[in-house]
């Protein structure tokens, strides 16, 4: 049983390692509309980036403190909820990260293509 699961576990670990680097970009991409923390966790999971709050919250907090995100508390509900949304600075950061991602992706593709299979 353990032997049968080992490749899947390896795949999951490899995926997680690769996804970690682009999580910030994906989070920024999903924040064009205001979203609250758990909503973003769910959307990241649906987008193929399963993430826990313990990983996502420090990223959101750093972006908020850097001015890349605007945060507002919705107090109209029974329980206040914090919504995050991209600021102008966040859009610029997202564009920079997107460019960086494209460069890395192209370089990775080129390197893989050169490698004999």
């Amino acid at each position: 049983m353990a032997e049968a699961r080992a490749p899947e576990e390896r795949d999951a670990r490899n995926d997680a390692e690769l996804r970690r680097g682009v999580l910030q970009l994906v989070a920024l991409a999903l924040l064009e509309e205001p979203r609250y923390g758990y909503e973003l966790v769910r959307m990241l999971g649906e987008a193929g980036f399963p993430t826990e709050e313990g990983t996502l919250y420090p990223i959101l907090r750093r972006f908020e403190e850097a001015g890349a995100l605007e945060a507002t508390w919705d107090t109209s509900r029974a329980r206040p909820r914090k919504y995050y949304r991209l600021s102008e600075g966040g859009r610029r950061l997202r564009a920079e990260l997107t460019e960086a991602w494209c460069r890395v992706r192209d370089a990775t593709d080129a390197a893989i293509r050169r490698t004999p299979s």
Binding site: Y36, G37, Y38, V41, E52, E53, G54, Y57, R79, K82
Partner: protein, 320 residues
């Protein structure tokens, strides 16, 4: 063993998190995290028991120390938690150490239990006493440094989180405590009650057990009772733990600890007169026994009161 109350689990998690965060971010981060926890609990739906949903939400966040480290960057987060643990240890060590030194000084102890570390304070001059207190503080800073280094940056804060600093109190507790304090005050201040309780013999031969020193300490004991009463009245008004009630409790605890130490050093606290139907030898033995009992009770009370004072001060530091 019963399962922990879900609300208490969340409160304990947030408390631990608050404790390892820098003061300027603690409040906003704990508000954010509390909202994240509630959102995940809501998302679990009514089919999942609340206790289980809370455990899942907390597991998704990871240990408070790890979350704080991720927020501050690994090294900075660990350092902040270790620093906090260090400054929590120092007053605990210092408070206990100082009390032992004061007790040894007033008891007239001439020798050190551990040379240079546990001994009486010098009493030759105020300056010498001040240097003695400074020496105790510096020794305890050294102890705390060694302890945190031995326990490690991660284990030291986790260990000290077990030290409960909150002062849970309800209006009912405060009202009951006020009744208890009123009873104590009646025993101390109504001579008829006091003499009936603390006396030996019957009729003409009945004699008070309280010595001159005990009677002289009664006004100070009343002052301490008044401080505790004030704290409970403040709790009745506020309905819960506030910085003001904590400060009053800290002050009352410190004054009570000082009173306990002073009581330990009095010679004429108890007197058993041989007019109460006892021989002179019996009276001496009973006096000796009672004085020793009072000494032990005062020592234990003093240590507990100093611990209470330190916990209140640490809690105030946490809240302010």
């Amino acid at each position: 063993m019963s399962a922990p109350d879900p609300a208490a689990r969340i409160a304990a998690y947030l408390e631990r998190l608050r404790d390892v965060l820098p003061h300027d971010r603690a409040s906003s981060v704990t508000s954010d995290v509390a909202a994240l926890i509630e959102d995940r609990i809501d998302a679990a739906g009514p089919a999942v028991p609340r206790a289980e949903a809370v455990e899942r939400a907390l597991a998704a966040l990871g240990a408070p120390e790890a979350l704080a480290a991720a927020l501050a960057g690994d090294a900075a987060g660990g350092d902040a938690a270790a620093r906090r643990a260090f400054w929590r240890l120092v007053p605990i060590l210092f408070g206990g150490h100082l009390l032992v030194s004061v007790v040894l000084a007033v008891a007239g102890a001439g020798t050190s239990l551990l040379p240079g570390l546990v001994g009486a304070l010098p009493t030759s001059s105020p300056l010498a006493t001040a240097f003695g207190v400074l020496g105790i503080f510096l020794a305890d800073v050294g102890f705390a440094t060694v302890l945190v280094a031995l326990l490690g940056r991660e284990r030291a804060p986790a260990l000290l989180h077990r030290l409960r600093l909150e002062m849970p109190g309800t209006r009912r507790d405060a009202a009951l405590s006020l009744v208890f304090l009123a009873l104590l005050a009646a025993i101390l201040d109504v001579p008829a009650v006091r003499d009936r309780l603390f006396a030996l013999g019957a009729g003409e031969g009945r004699a008070s057990l309280l010595g001159d020193d005990a009677l002289a300490l009664i006004p100070f004991a009343n002052g301490v009772l008044a401080l505790f009463a004030l704290r409970h009245v403040a709790l009745l008004v506020s309905g819960g733990e506030r910085v003001g009630t904590l400060a009053l409790d800290a002050l009352a605890s410190l004054c009570a600890a000082v009173l306990a130490v002073v009581a330990m050093t009095r010679d004429a606290l108890i007197r058993v007169p041989d007019t109460a139907g006892l021989t002179a030898a019996q009276a001496r033995t009973l006096t000796d026994l009672l004085v020793r009992t009072v000494f032990v009770v005062a020592l234990v009370s003093g240590v507990l009161l100093v611990a209470r004072f330190v916990r209140r001060v640490l809690r105030i530091r946490q809240l302010v």
